[in-house]
Amino acid sequence: MSAEKYDATPTTPVLSDLSRRVFLERLARYGTAFATVPAAMHALGMISEEACAAMGLPKEVEFYEKLPNRKTKCHTCPTECEREPGKESECRTHNNKNGVLYTYAFNNPCILKTDPIEKLPQYHFMPGTTTLSIATGGCNMRCLYCQNWEQSQSPPEKLKTFPFDGAQAKEMALHKKIPTFAYTYTDPVVFFEYIKDLVKHTRPSGIRHVAASAAFMQEKPLLQLCQNLDSITVTLKGFSEEFYRKICGDRPLKPVLESLVTIKKSGIWLEIVNLVIPSYNDNMKNIKEMCKWIVQNLGSEVPLHFARFSPEYKMKNLPSTPIPTLEKAKEIAQAMGIKFVYLSNVAPHIGNNTYCPSCKNLLIERLAFQILQNRMTQGRCPRCGSKIPGIWDNAKK
């Protein structure tokens, strides 16, 4: 399937819609955001590419190769976009400018908001804490059901963005006492350089970093990403090449599975989410195979979330996932040996809760992302003393 098919028109205000007068007013008002102003000025055609590049913006992509005739080949994700000068990559954040590949996502988020960490979903990582969610425009996936398509299918310069650099991030985190940053909503693979910079500025202050990603990334940058993260939720969108081809924009499944193994080996905390879509990936035989693969390759302690699908974007004609389907999937996963299986996007449901795999004691009771009670004591079941895998200390590092 070609990428052109998924051209989404952004409904949020676009930067280029701003008149120069309004822009200058804002420029005067938000002097602190100077770091990204050149990028915005460049987008408005107010300063030249050269002047912008001289100020370090937009940021040069880290993993790419320069080819003859000023062509570039990106090595961030397995799509390996080869682009001529002036052309944008599949992810819409990278652009070949005169033989140099730049990212327009750097310091340029379109989403900045505080969320419960459970929303990623992360159920075994600092439960009940608030995280600062950050996303930029663009995405290297083309999922037909994307719930954030307005952001993921638009390049950063076509969205309303909020200049936010490493120094500001540090100040904000300390001022608002935010313990974690979460890179989510659009795939953090496409703003990898920005994440590294945010981590560099905030990790010394004890801020932890988590991400939600499809893990469609090449090994080298992925290893670097893992070094920068404390935890990750990987969306394993389906368990067949056919599903990834038909629904996710002709992407292969194999690199995702390889990424999962790499992430697990890296030692950061990992949770997996699988969105169950009626008639596309709700075949129980296939779900069983997926669970078997998870147990064999990642172990039985990686939490698995089955999320309920809701009609979105280009899959509005489908029904929501029937709850019995999710319950059946959960049963299968548990029978296959996965110790922590959750149901997401359905609440209230006992599938939101954490139970001790040894004595079945209720450990954390949830209503969607809200924690109703947490009975764990120092990461252990209070009844039988079993150690529950995860990061349970909620204080800063």
Binding site: Q147, F162, P163, Y185, P348, Q373
Partner: protein, 345 residues
């Protein structure tokens, strides 16, 4: 629409302009008595039914839970009929007593006098919303206390049927025609859109050009809108809220775009005007707890009106094991080519 109603409407439209004022008001009264009043009860019933459906949809009940709730609601219904039957004579006397008391209170109100401190605290129940004097009077007979104890017992049996998260949903539930997003459709994992109304208006007003007097006018307009939902405020309360809002807008405008984006929900929450209805609800639920009276679970799930709704829902779930609602069933069937949608997976 029945032809009688249409005729009356036509008559009213044609004759009204030519009638003298007193005849016109008589005709209006007749209109209210004959057409509006009987339909008012119908509307109230429908409102209650829609509300109950919204609650049922938000609870994600299993078949076993539905069976258990219907059984308990049926018991509650029979018990209610038994008690009300027994208490009818007592009720009539109690109603008269209540009316006398209200007449006395009315006199104080008319004369603008304070109600004497000696007035029993029990009279407070007149303040309960949606409680007609007739229903309030029914609460008076001596066997009512026993009835409430029995209802409370049935409600405590529901504790074994529901999970705590479902009880939390009931506790937070406000009867509604259009369900709030977090009930039927909770904010989904990884979904960006979840801004509250309040933060949306704060964003709009922050970006607007309103300053000084024009800002005050815009905020006054917003407050009027808010009062429609949260109950009206006294003049001094209104001024306090408007002052707080003005400061909030100034604070929002002093922030960078990024800082505002991160802080807007919190800021909006702090600016939320006190919800008078909610405050009253809290007082009532505290009273209920202190006196060990039946609570919200009984109010909704032991309501006789829920019985047919739950029976329909159960029938549907038994017919199609993969669907919880009629719309899910229609959608599933429209995508199914081989009948597999009705098979247990």
């Amino acid at each position: 629409m029945p032809s009688k109603i249409i005729c009356l409407m036509l008559m009213f439209a044609v004759i009204a302009p030519c009638l003298p004022a007193d005849e016109l008001s008589q005709l209006q009264e007749a209109w209210v008595d004959k057409i509006i009043a009987p339909r008012h009860g119908e509307m109230q019933k429908m409102h209650e039914e829609i509300s109950l459906y919204n609650l049922i949809n938000g609870l994600h009940l299993t078949k076993q839970q539905i069976v258990a709730i219907v059984t308990l609601a049926q018991q509650a219904k029979e018990m209610r009929e038994r008690y009300l039957g027994k208490g009818n004579d007592a009720n009539a006397a109690a109603l008269q007593q209540e009316l006398n008391e209200m007449e006395r209170l009315k006199q104080f109100a008319e004369q603008g006098k304070n109600v004497p401190a000696s007035t029993p605290k029990g009279k407070r129940h007149h303040l309960r919303p949606n409680k007609s004097p007739k229903r309030a009077a029914v609460a008076a007979p001596p066997n009512m206390q026993h009835y409430q104890q029995e209802l409370k017992r049935l409600e405590s049996e529901l504790d074994y049927v529901l999970i705590p998260a479902q009880k939390q949903v009931i506790e937070d539930f406000k009867p509604c025609l259009i369900p709030p997003k977090n009930l039927k459709n909770p904010v989904r994992i990884g979904q960006a859109k979840s801004n509250s109304h309040l933060s949306q208006w704060l964003t709009r007003i922050r970006n607007s050009k309103h300053e000084g007097y024009s800002l005050r006018l815009a905020l006054q307009h917003l407050l009027k809108q808010a009062e429609k939902h949260q109950g009206s405020y006294k003049a001094d309360e209104r001024e306090t809220i408007l002052d707080k809002w003005e400061k909030g807008v100034a604070q929002a405008r002093a922030m960078s775009d990024a800082e505002f984006e991160i802080s807007k929900e919190e800021l909006a929450q702090n600016l939320e005007p006190p919800d008078k209805k909610e405050k009253l609800q809290k007082i009532i639920s505290n009273e209920i707890k202190t006196h060990n009276l039946p609570g919200k679970t009984a109010q909704f799930l032991l309501n006789p009106q829920i019985i047919p709704l739950l029976r329909d829902r159960l029938y549907l779930m038994l017919q199609n094991p993969n669907c919880n609602t009629q719309s899910e069933r229609w959608q599933a069937e429209s995508h199914c080519e081989d009948g597999s949608c009705t098979e247990e997976r």
